[in-house]
Amino acid sequence: MDLQIALLLGQDGIVNGAIYALLALALVLVFTVTRVIFIPQGEFVAFGALTLASFQAGKAPGTLWLLVGLGALVAVIDGVTAWRTQRRHRMAHIAFWNLAYPLLTAAVVYCDSPQDWPLVLQVVGALAIVVPLGPMIYRLAYQPLAEATVLVLLIVSVAVHLTLVGLGLLFFGAEGSRTTPFSEASFALGDITVNGQTLWVLAASLVLIAVLYFFFERTLYGKALRATAINRTGAGLMGISTTMAGKLSFLLAVAIGALSGILIAPITTVYYDTGFLIGLKGFVAAIIGGMASYPVAAAGAILVGLLESFSSFWASAFKEVIVFTLIIPVLVWRSLTTRHIEEDE
């Protein structure tokens, strides 16, 4: 290996690591707020990328129907609950977000031709379809079990993951897709060339991390999510409802997942099941951070990215094995250094 190869691998590792970092942050967020290990995270990476690819291929994405369908289900369940508990003033709000919004989005996609939209608008459109799926899935799958143990919530996550992978195959078929790059530019940096999309991924990840930091440190809703993670009882007594916090954290996590998918879609071919492996690598990073620490998880993600790219050079057949084996020394180290806390549920 010479320096040039090392630099190339390093570049690759850092770019992938940046994506893993975003996913790891989302996983830590969802786990600390709701105690859900969010395995379906990866599916939203694929949904984001493939929804954008559908737009560019001039097709209506299947995720649109998922949005309409899940919205209708949530509207029925929440509508009946609001009716029964005498909270009819909530009905308009429920109907707007779960019926009107999905149908409006569908109407826009059908009446206009998204393949002629500028890239920015296509990205916004893809996010507008995929992101609301997060709170809807929280409402349908997790909210009724909000007080269940971590294990039960994990089993629900596995079920949601399998369902979404199946739907992904139904919506997008078995073929992979690539999208047009955000930028065709490339720069010479010493001996290596850095292409524009790489810089996009890095810049967008950094901006997103900064935005998240600002959200958690400076805004009342960000602080409310942190408060829920620290002390649910205390947060409840402030009027921060578990449901609101859960939906908000799922919204953020799915937005991060979908955006990650959109960022990598021009550099990797994304298949309906690609997201799972990417999500799992984010999960390894989140484990390094003990499912609790954001900075350690982000650093762990860069480590995972670098380890992956260098092992693809030295032992490409064992690339995944090496990355996932990393979890064993990490778990040993964590179990030796941290005091075990019993789950007090």
Binding site: T85, I230, A235, G239
Partner: protein, 246 residues
């Protein structure tokens, strides 16, 4: 009691944990501008009663009327939204957040309802608890026991409650700090907030309260104006001891 409608009117409240009934037919009233105390031994059901009023613990029967409207199967957020705030026995602070952030979160529901006066309210809380102002950027977990209790009360005051429920505010605090906390609770009455004070420290509680209930084995054993309770031989024997009055 007076002719005006009480702020909080609890009638016939029952709570069961499985087959064990923790509260039997408890009725409690709090009038506007009053401090009402519920005293009684450990395990009498005092904390359960507050939990059932707030919607933290499911009720098996009974009515809770708050601000003149019956509250059916309430959730905590609804009660907070209406202006009822509980300072729980364990304080339940956000330890890894600053004092200031803890206070800000106390105004979360008000903010959600469209009020934007949290900074002004915080200044009022700082006037009541100057110690919190000194420690505003410190993490809540680094505070002393007394300061933690002050923060818990201050955080609840950030919601500008109409009814403040305090669960054992004196628990685990040094006598001097208990006295300071009770001074502040007594002063809060003058700001118009009604207070439901649950205490094991019967002497201090009856001293500042207008009306009192004695809860024993999940039932109201005695009730009356607090100066009458202070002179009641049964209360003196069981809860005030022979130390005489201050």
């Amino acid at each position: 009691m007076g002719l005006t409608k009480p702020i909080l009117d609890v009638t016939d409240l029952c709570v069961s944990y499985g087959k064990v009934e923790a509260l039997h037919h408890v009725s409690v009233k709090v009038q506007a501008g009053q401090i009402v105390t519920v005293i009684g031994p450990n395990g009498a059901g005092k904390t359960t009663m507050l939990g059932a009023i707030m919607g933290l613990v499911p009720r098996s029967r009974g009515e809770v009327e708050f601000l003149g409207a019956a509250q059916g199967a309430v959730e905590v957020e609804q009660m907070v939204g209406l202006g009822a705030n509980l300072v729980p026995e364990k304080r339940e602070l956000f330890g890894e957040m600053s004092v200031e952030d803890n206070l800000l979160l106390g105004a979360f529901m008000r903010h959600r309802l469209g009020f934007r006066d949290e900074r002004a309210t915080m200044e009022l809380v700082f006037e009541t608890f100057p110690r919190l102002k000194e420690r505003r950027s410190q993490l809540a977990s680094t505070l002393s026991g007394g300061e933690r209790q002050m923060l818990a009360v201050g955080r609840a005051l950030m919601a500008k409650p109409k009814l403040l429920m305090l669960d054992e505010p004196s628990l685990g605090l040094a006598p001097l700090i208990v006295r300071e906390i009770f001074h502040i609770i007594a002063a809060l009455r003058n700001t118009g907030v009604a207070i439901l004070l649950v205490e094991q420290n019967a002497r201090a509680a009856l001293h500042i309260a207008d009306y009192g209930y004695v809860l024993e084995m999940g039932e109201v054993a005695l009730e009356g104006p607090s100066d009458e309770l202070e002179d009641n031989p049964k209360v003196i024997e069981s809860y005030l001891g022979l130390g005489g009055r201050h």
